[in-house]
Symmetry: C2
Subunit: 230 residues, 2 copies
């Protein structure tokens, strides 16, 4: 059961190379994360670099149990499609990275966190997205594995109670980045139409003609190839 | 009380120009957000573009009440420093943007959200960070205002119960981007030392010499000017 079949090898991280990630590249990715904006300049993030095989095997076991339970929620052709997706690359990437958040940290002296304390965790997610984009620029694919039981993840990584595991990431060089998300290509979900997601001045005041007018330049925008054919 | 004093005009968005944001630029920013990665390709985000003066005035009133309460939590010189910070630009930017999330949406068929449902909101934050970076590239400053009472924000923007206001953003052209966060320059909080934030294989296994070794290339990395002088 440790070996993926051909279908499983396809997927989110297809064509992952075994090439290790050099220290200077990993350093740039983590520095990019560390330079994300944070509420009150709190910088609530920490980084657990996971290379150890035993630790990754334990995380992979966690994934398998959670994934089997999740798969049982689907029937028929959707179940088949689900089973064919590659939803993690825990043991076949050179580096896993757990990005954590200490939401109770006094760093930043609470600025901006009195009414919306959730912004501490949001800051950490901003750091993850910075890292994700930096990785893309370096030719490194990042998979965010959320099919994990957080309590088990905590136990395996020895994360204390006051620290939140926000993102568990698998990092590896890939030979190709697809123009569309794998889940779109494989027919799991469709890209939403952007004009339907826009409201004016108040929520619920959708005005699709007005939204289309606002967005009409995207079709010919040389900056946004990804929007051109939509 | 509607007019900012000289000190207030300094700050997070100093030197904001009155130049309006063109539709094609706003469209690019929102498209950048819409192309963020999302759990299960869920795309749980929506965008409320707020230009209406009355709506912004109501949000600004919300900020003022929340900010006075927050300010009362500080004493002495820190209170003085807090009072001198410009923490919003609600009425003096041409566009406010509220990014919302529908965490209960069935889009994405629940993929990746069985054990960590918080990833729906995290996806929305990834969209915000994409927008933030795109705005930087366009010369537009983004201020994330979290000193708001969410229930009031909901009422003003008529956001229904099942939708979460994740980020309230102020967008405007700025003449200058500082190399360091305003809160660092003004002495509110220091940049954390990156090697102290790195753990190996398990949380709590900090190894600063090893972390310094991993990160030592950053000092001379031509890609990361921001790390060079640290």
């Amino acid at each position: 059961m440790n070996r993926f079949n051909d279908q499983e090898r396809r997927g989110l991280y297809h064509a992952i190379e075994s090439r290790p990630i050099e220290d200077d590249v990993l350093a740039r990715l983590i520095a990019a994360a560390h330079h994300a904006p944070s509420v009150g300049f709190m910088q609530p993030w920490e980084f657990v670099i996971v290379r150890d095989g035993g630790v990754r095997r334990a995380i992979y076991d966690n994934f398998n149990i959670a994934n089997r339970a999740a798969a049982d929620g689907y029937d028929g052709s959707r179940r088949e499609l689900y089973d064919s997706l590659k939803l993690e690359a825990i043991v076949d990437t050179p580096i896993n990275l757990c990005v954590t958040c200490n939401p109770a940290s006094t760093r930043g002296f609470g600025l901006g966190r009195q009414t919306m304390p959730e912004t501490a965790v949001y800051s950490t997610v901003c750091a993850v997205q910075n890292l994700w984009l930096a990785a893309r620029a370096e030719g490194i694919g990042v998979g965010w594995v959320s099919i994990l039981e957080p309590s088990v993840l905590r136990a395996v990584l020895q994360i204390p109670e006051d620290v939140l595991p926000v993102a568990y990431l698998c990092l590896g060089y890939v030979t190709e980045f697809r123009p569309e998300p794998e889940l779109e290509t494989r027919g799991w979900e469709k890209r939403l139409s952007l004009p339907e997601l826009i409201h004016f001045d108040r929520y619920g005041t959708r005005d699709e003609p007005r939204a289309r007018e606002l967005l009409h330049s995207l079709k010919d925008d040389p900056m946004l190839e990804f929007e051109r054919d939509r």
